[in-house]
Amino acid sequence: MSVPKVCGIETEYGVSRRGGGDDNPVVASSLLINAYVEDKRVGWDFEDETPARDARGFTRDASNPPDVETHLVNTVLTNGARYYVDHAHPEYSTPECTDALSLLRADKAGERIIAKSMELARLAQGAVGEIVTYKNNSDGKGNSYGCHENYLMDRNCAFGEIVKNLLPWFVTRQIFTGAGKVGSEHAREGIEFQMSARSDFFEEEVGLETTIRRPIVNTRDEPHAMSSQYRRLHVIVGDANLCELSTFLKVGTTAIVLAMIEDNAIENDLSIYEPVRALREVSRDLTCGSLLELRNGRSASPLDLQWEFFKSAQRYAARTGLEDCGGEIVGAEVLRRWEEVLSALEVDPLSLDGRLDWVTKYCLLEQFRERDGVTWDNPKLALIDLQYHDVRPERSLYERLVRAGKIERILTEEEIEQAVSQPPHDTRAYFRGECLRRWPQSIVAANWDSIVFDVGSGSLQRVPMMDPLKGTRHLVEALLNSCETPIELIEKLGTPH
C-alpha cells in the first residue's frame, strides 16, 4: 500500500575561495554558515542517526564503514531546514514536504539562503578571500558532490521491486532532470556535451555507498521515522537543478512512480540490459531517441520508456488517485507538465530552452559557439558551464537568463522568500520551525525526529516527532498559540520523554 510521499532534497554546494584567505573548503563552508546563523544558532542532535544501515536488511560492520557526516557546523532554520557543513561543502537539506511544489519552494529558498550567506560573509570578511558557491555537481576533474532526494516509503514494499523498477526510471528520467555538462569526466572520451552532470560517476546498480562505486539505487535505510512502518528512499543519482520545471518534475514524477511501485501499478517490466552503461548512454544521446536493449529482448528509447511510465501513471491516477503523491491538484499538474515535456522532447528537444536545465545550457553554449566561432574544447565554454550555477545573483548566468525573461517560472519571488523563513505547514517541519521561531533560546538541539528543550530547571526535555505527518499546522497551531513558554508546551504535551 502506498504511503504519503513525504520528501526532501539535500544539496551540497560547490565552494571555493577567491582572492586570498584560507582556501580550506571546510573553513570556507563554516564561515558561510556561521555568517548566516550568527547568534540564532541551534545545534543538530545526532542521536538516532544510523547512516550505515542497509535497506537490504543488514548493518555494515565497523571495519569498512561508509563516511559518517562530520560534526562541524550544524544548524536548524526556522523554515525547518538543516544547514550544515558536510565533508567539504555547505549543505542545505530542505524541510520535509508533501508535494513537489512545496519542495520546489523549499529548494529554491536554499539558493537564497546560500546567496545571503555569501553576502554576509563578504561583509564580515571584507572583499579579500571572497567565498563563492555553485549549485552544481562536479568540478570537471573527476570530483562530484551530491544533490540527494529522499522519499518516505512503505516498509512492507519489497526492496527488490523498488530496485527493479527504479533502475529504468533513473536511467531515463535524466532526459528532463539533467543539468547539462560540457564534456565528460573522462577527458579521453572527447564528447561535446551531455545531459547529466552526475551520470559519469555511477558504477554499480545497487549499494550503500555515496562517495565511491556509486550505485544507481542507494540502499541507505535510515528512515528518521517509525522504522517498523516506513523506510526512507535515499536517491543519489540526480543532478542539482536550477530550472524550476526540472526540479518540479524530478520530485513530482518520482513520487508518483514510487507510489505506483508500492501499489504494484507499474504495468510492464521495463528492466534495461546493463543499466550502468545505459545511464551514460542516455546522458550522451541528446535526441532522447536512441534504442536501449531491454532484458525482455525488446529495445526501446528513453522516451519510449518514459511514455510507458507516464501511461501507467495516468491510469494509476484515474484508478487510485494521487492523494499520496502530493494531492490531486499538484499531482494533476505533475502529470500535465510531464506529458507536455515528453511531447516536446519527441518533436524537438531544443524547444525546451528556458524550461529544462540541460537544454537551456546547451542552447546558451551553442549561441556562444556560433558567435565566437569556438569549438567545444574552448575553456570559455567550460567557464559558462560552471558559471551557469554560480549562486551569486550578479554572477549567475542562470539568473541573467531569468532577468532577460528567458526562463519559465513556476514560483514567484515572494513565495521563495516566504519559504526562506517559514516551514511547510503540512509536515512535522511546521512544529520544528515554529518552535525555533518562538523559543530559540530554549532549544538546545533539534534533528529530523526530535527537538531538545532546555526549560531552565531539571533535565533537558526531548520531544520526539517520529511521525513526519504529525506536528502540522492543523494539528499543533492552536496548541502552540496557547503556550507562552516552552515549559507550558512540554506540560501540555504530557509526560516528558
Binding site: 565533508h87 568540478d139 570530483n143 541528446l286 536512441s290 567557464l383 559558462i384 560552471l386 554572477r395 528567458k406
Partner: protein, 64 residues
C-alpha cells in the same frame, strides 16, 4: 559485443530543418538577433576573466 557508436547524436539537425520551413519575417528576426547579441554581451561582461585559469583552479574534494 559490437563496438558502440561513438559519434554523439545532437538534436541540432531537426531544428535547422524546421527553421528553414518557418523562418520569421526578417525585421522580427533581426530584432530577436539584436536582443540575443545584447544578452551574450551582457553575459560576457559578468564572466570571470581568464577562463582557462579559472576553470582549472576550481577543484572540489570530498563530498556526499
Amino acid at each position: 559485443m559490437p563496438e558502440r557508436e561513438q559519434i554523439q547524436k545532437t538534436p541540432q539537425k531537426r531544428r535547422e530543418e524546421e527553421s528553414a520551413e518557418t523562418s520569421a519575417p526578417s525585421s522580427q528576426g533581426e530584432k530577436i538577433k539584436g536582443e540575443l547579441d545584447e544578452l551574450l554581451d551582457e553575459i560576457d561582461s559578468v564572466l570571470e576573466t581568464n577562463a582557462e585559469e579559472f576553470v582549472k583552479s576550481y577543484i572540489q574534494k570530498g563530498g556526499e
